[in-house]
Assembly symmetry: C2
Homo-oligomer: 223 residues x 2
């Protein structure tokens, strides 16, 4: 108790372990999160973690739940808008802001063998919102699947064509093998030459896809 060596480090708790794990994943991606590095970040040995969490899967379950709670809370701050669609849109964009700070989250959530409680809670609120907006349970069910991870603000891209601005000489090379893609790129890049993000703005594209789905669901609603 009075020994400075023992008092030097706060005792481990499950909460401290999970918070440190999230910091590691945020900063170095999910592959930076190892039991050994996590322990080191906490000033402990790897084996000490096992007293507070049930192995690495326990850590992943835990951080999934913490982030899902954060998403739920952010969405909960959104007040009712003029329509179910506007409210759902605002809630999902609020969720996305959280997710942008935890980009590893969709993969971890999808990899859990048991449903993550706070994710269910988030979707429960979404179902309630859509039901109150006049959508049938059947349509809502299809809608949740159609949204998939987009419901929490994430859309999986297969390649990043906007890794950098397209150079004219790259375009001519591209045109031979991929004429349609090159044609599209040339025009889209020309329309927005100022874009510092390259020619794709993630946020704009996310909102476009989200609106496409929400609009489609609203149109399918029986009025």
């Amino acid at each position: 108790m009075t020994d400075p060596e023992l008092a030097a480090r706060a005792p481990l708790t499950k909460e401290r372990v999970l918070r440190a794990a999230i910091v590691l994943a945020d900063e170095g991606g999910i592959e930076a999160l190892t039991m050994r590095r996590l322990a080191e970040a906490l000033g402990a040995e790897a084996m000490s973690l096992y007293y507070h969490v049930s192995g690495k899967d326990g850590v992943l379950d835990g951080i999934a739940e913490v982030v899902a709670q954060e998403i739920s809370e952010a969405a909960g701050q959104i007040r009712e808008q003029g329509s179910w669609k506007a409210t759902a849109r605002a809630r999902i964009l609020a969720a996305r802001e959280v997710l942008l700070r935890h980009q590893w989250a969709p993969g971890v959530l999808a990899s859990r063998s048991q449903p993550v409680p706070a994710v269910l809670g988030y979707h429960d609120a979404l179902v309630g919102l859509m039901r109150a907006g006049g959508l049938s349970y059947d349509l809502i069910h299809h809608g949740l699947h159609a949204l998939g991870s987009r419901a929490i603000g994430f859309s999986q891209e297969l390649f990043d064509p906007g890794a950098g601005p397209v150079q004219p000489d790259q375009l001519t090379q591209l045109a031979a093998a991929l004429p349609h893609l090159a044609g599209m790129l040339a025009e889209v890049a020309h329309d927005d030459p100022e874009s510092t993000l390259g020619w794709c703005d993630d946020q704009t594209e996310f909102e476009f896809g989200l609106d496409l789905i929400l609009d489609g669901l609203d149109r399918a609603r029986v009025r």
Copy 2:
């Protein structure tokens, strides 16, 4: 040459290595694909692989390209339908059939630091199809982002509410904490009590989401 010991195993080639890697990933998931197990499946030592591929990332790049080619070829078999939308739909569903045999593919494709050539080729054809259908390059660009991994037949789900049929007693438990989800489940499960897949049919849900996006894009087209 006449020594049976030496003749016992076909020499390694990049193609054989990649084919074996795909079999491993198909059968045991992407985490079953390790350099050591891959070598073992080929009757060689782990270090021998490095002569044919540039490490594990080279294997991942390689299998990503092979599967993307398979997807491209499957889509290429589809002949023109009555509209761009019908053709795109049929091509994407053909891609999905390939993907269902290689469920690890979306994750691997998304994890590549360089674009996978055959994925670009597949998207190039899709762009051409949409352009011929009267969509502007700008709309096509948004459309590709809106589709994301759905363009090759994959939709990321955050949880699998259809892991099994919902039991009545589970529903009452659920209803307390998640009233809206429970209400939806009760109705959807009731509507289709025969479903052996639980209450969610992946294929149906995939097609619903796909049509929502394709219909939305077609509607946004200037006619």
